[in-house]
């Protein structure tokens, strides 16, 4: 079983929900990313989403845009992100790591090399925001060969036929984008998520994580009741932006612990 499957199976047994924080690799600095990853796990994260910065993050709001800009200014690259995962794995062999970003840096490296490197360093899943299933044939072939899970987004606008299509291709978990908008925008509509869930569950047998717009412990708790995992991105990246190198791990850990407690209640 893959690390992602094992993690969700264990959580299910414990009747708990996954907490999936997102950080951008290289933000606030290259040397802080691996300590932050360990800090997130210690504070209660089950799966880590590690953002690969891109020059043109079209699906992201201002908070994650700024994080990408900082990371690129710090010299972050896809190659560098893979190196960080290798470093992280020296001390943590069990927590799943999912790389999240846009397709072009991977295209530039080639999917073949990328999938091989992911397997080598211990990446478990890959989510490319701008590569829908229709354009991902090449990507799948290589990811599947190395047993790396393609993680897909589903949105409030996704129609049933597409949900079925994604259900066939997805591995690991499926990420439901809880609102129409960019990351970190708007406020979440809990009843809309509740309404959509049966349609998603009908076709998707994998765990379903929900993200976009989850900004506090109360919302995280409410969302957790509706799905299998809660993804928190912009709120954590905001905390990183507001911290110094000295207190960033402590501040982010405190936030994640609050989210953990709320979800477990």
């Amino acid at each position: 079983m893959s690390r992602i499957d094992t993690t969700f199976a264990k959580l299910k047994q414990q009747q708990r929900k996954a907490l999936i924080p997102f950080i951008t690799a290289g933000d606030p600095s290259q040397q802080m990313t691996v300590p932050l990853m360990h800090g997130l796990v210690e504070a209660g994260a089950d799966v880590l989403e590690l953002g690969v910065p891109f020059s043109d993050p079209m699906a992201d709001g201002p908070v994650i845009q700024r994080a990408s800009e900082r990371a690129l200014k710090n010299g972050m690259s896809l190659r560098g992100v893979l190196g960080m995962v290798a470093e992280f794995r020296k001390q943590d062999a069990t927590t799943p790591v999912v790389l999240m970003g846009y397709g072009n840096p991977i295209e530039a490296m080639s999917w073949e090399t990328f999938a091989q490197r992911c397997a080598d360093v211990g990446v478990d899943g890959v989510l490319t925001v701008d590569f829908p299933p229709e354009e991902s044939h090449d990507a799948f072939e290589h990811l599947q060969r190395h047993n790396i899970a393609p993680i897909f987004l589903l949105a409030p606008t996704t129609k049933e036929a597409r949900i079925q299509q994604v259900a066939k291709l997805a591995r690991g978990y499926v990420y439901y984008v809880s609102l129409k908008g960019v990351t970190g925008s708007g406020s979440i509509d809990l009843s809309a998520i509740e309404d959509k869930m049966p349609q998603l569950r009908k076709h998707i047998k994998l765990p379903i994580g929900v993200g976009f717009g989850i900004r506090d412990a109360a919302t995280a708790k409410a969302v957790a009741k509706l799905c299998d995992g809660v993804v928190v991105g912009s709120r954590i990246v905001q905390e990183i932006e507001n911290s110094t190198e000295q207190n960033v791990v402590a501040n982010v850990s405190k936030l994640v612990r609050e989210l953990r407690q709320a979800i477990d209640q």
């Binding site: 020059s55 079209m58 072009n104 829908p132 354009e135 987004l153 606008t157 597409r162 908008g181 960019v182």
Partner: protein, 399 residues
């Protein structure tokens, strides 16, 4: 030779496609379906033809630039006068088509990205014409260099939103418009400015712009008894160019030449000429195209004197035409474009847009090497009023 692109999924060979975030996939699928439904609908076609004739002022004439041609002493230069359209550029051809589609789809809010501001003005114009709310995203740097167009958009009732991220130019305006669309997907129609982006935009914008080439194919034989030896147009995203080129693809013996922005020169790295510089294939703004990027797949900043050509990618059909060898792509540097701008002002009394000046500059470059009975048809895609500030500044003049 049969040329039939894109395929049903929006691919031009390896180029094009639908590389979009999931939230927008249903929107582009719906748009593709609605466009297929209306493109051959007699009522839609009649309404578009009426608007193009009575509101835009089509057909645009072709003009023989005789004094300029005589001065150069070689091939004859003819100009397709898209600068004479209402709003002063070819952009209105496609903005009008898309607005009519938006109307049929019940969308009351339209958004657009703009570089030089011509597409923003065209969109603001059709939005006013049909009573739609209009938001235009424009890079903060472009707002500086194209101030007159910003004021025009505001006069027309549009809201112009400055984009401060990245290089503060066209690509960043495009990012921001996509962010708006993903947020307001149900109420909003994205009137895209060029023949690029996710399917169906490269096909749809091309189809609306093909009025340029289709008119020229009738007008040239009327004027000179035959088709031109070459058709030449500037290429940023490449909508004016594909509108002229596409109808000529299957016409034998007509050379097709796209002119990219060479900026400070290809060797300097400061340009916006992905095809000429053989940029690697990559994915940005919904499509797979030749794309200016670094070795890590990050998009690099481009440079051109003309805001409308200052873009790191290019439409997918141009990538294909280059790959199959049907069109050739060359670059013209900033200073060559400015010289061509001056020449057309002095020899013909026409002030061209800096974008179109690139196409003209290439014609000026090759005409003297050709026989006097050869004919070059240049797409004069827009007028240069918007560029007064830029040109004055270059000449050290304060307006």
């Amino acid at each position: 030779m049969t040329y039939n692109y894109p395929d049903s999924t929006g691919h031009f060979g390896q180029f094009g496609g639908t590389y979009m975030a999931e939230t927008l996939i249903p929107a582009v699928e719906e748009l593709a379906a609605q466009y297929l439904r209306y493109q051959n609908d007699p009522e839609f076609k009649a309404e578009l033809a009426y608007e193009l004739k009575h509101y835009v002022g089509r057909p645009s004439p072709i003009y023989h630039a005789k004094r300029l041609s005589e001065h150069l002493g070689g091939a004859q230069i003819y100009l397709k006068r898209e600068d004479l359209n209402h709003t002063g550029a070819h952009k209105i051809n496609s903005a009008m088509g898309q607005a009519l589609l938006a109307k049929r789809m019940g969308k009351k809010r339209v958004i657009a990205e703009t570089g030089a501001g011509m597409h923003g003005v065209a969109t603001a114009t059709v939005a006013a014409r049909f009573g739609m709310e209009c938001i235009v995203y424009m890079g903060a740097e472009d707002i500086q260099r194209q101030a007159p167009n910003v004021f025009r958009m505001k006069l027309l009732g549009a809201k112009v939103v400055p984009v401060e991220s990245g290089s503060k130019t066209l690509k960043d305006a495009c990012n921001e418009a996509i962010r708006d669309w993903v947020t307001n997907v149900e109420s909003t129609f994205y009137i895209f400015g060029t023949a690029a982006g996710p399917h169906p935009y490269p096909m749809m914008v091309r189809d609306f712009q093909c009025v340029i080439g289709n008119e020229a194919k009738v007008q040239m034989p009327e004027m000179i008894g035959r088709q031109p030896d070459a058709v030449i147009a500037c290429v940023g995203g490449g909508s004016n160019a594909i509108g002229l080129f596409n109808p000529y693809i299957e016409v034998p013996n007509v050379q097709i030449i796209g002119v990219e922005a060479g900026g400070f020169g290809i060797a300097s790295g400061k340009h916006a000429a992905p095809l000429t510089a053989n940029a690697k294939v990559g994915v940005l703004h919904g499509n797979k195209v030749n794309l200016m990027q670094d070795e890590n797949g990050q998009i690099i900043e481009t440079h051109s004197i003309s805001a409308g050509l200052d873009y790191p990618g290019v439409g997918p059909e141009h990538c294909l035409l280059k790959e199959i060898g049907r069109a050739q792509y060359v670059a013209i540097n900033d200073d060559e474009a400015i010289a061509a701008f001056d020449s057309l002002c002095r020899f013909e009394g026409i002030i061209p847009a800096l974008e179109s000046s690139h196409a003209l500059a290439h014609a000026i470059k090759i005409a003297p090497t050709m026989a006097k009975d050869k004919v070059l048809l240049v797409n004069l895609s827009g007028r240069g009023d918007k560029d007064m500030n830029t040109v004055a500044k270059l000449k050290g003049i304060t307006l």
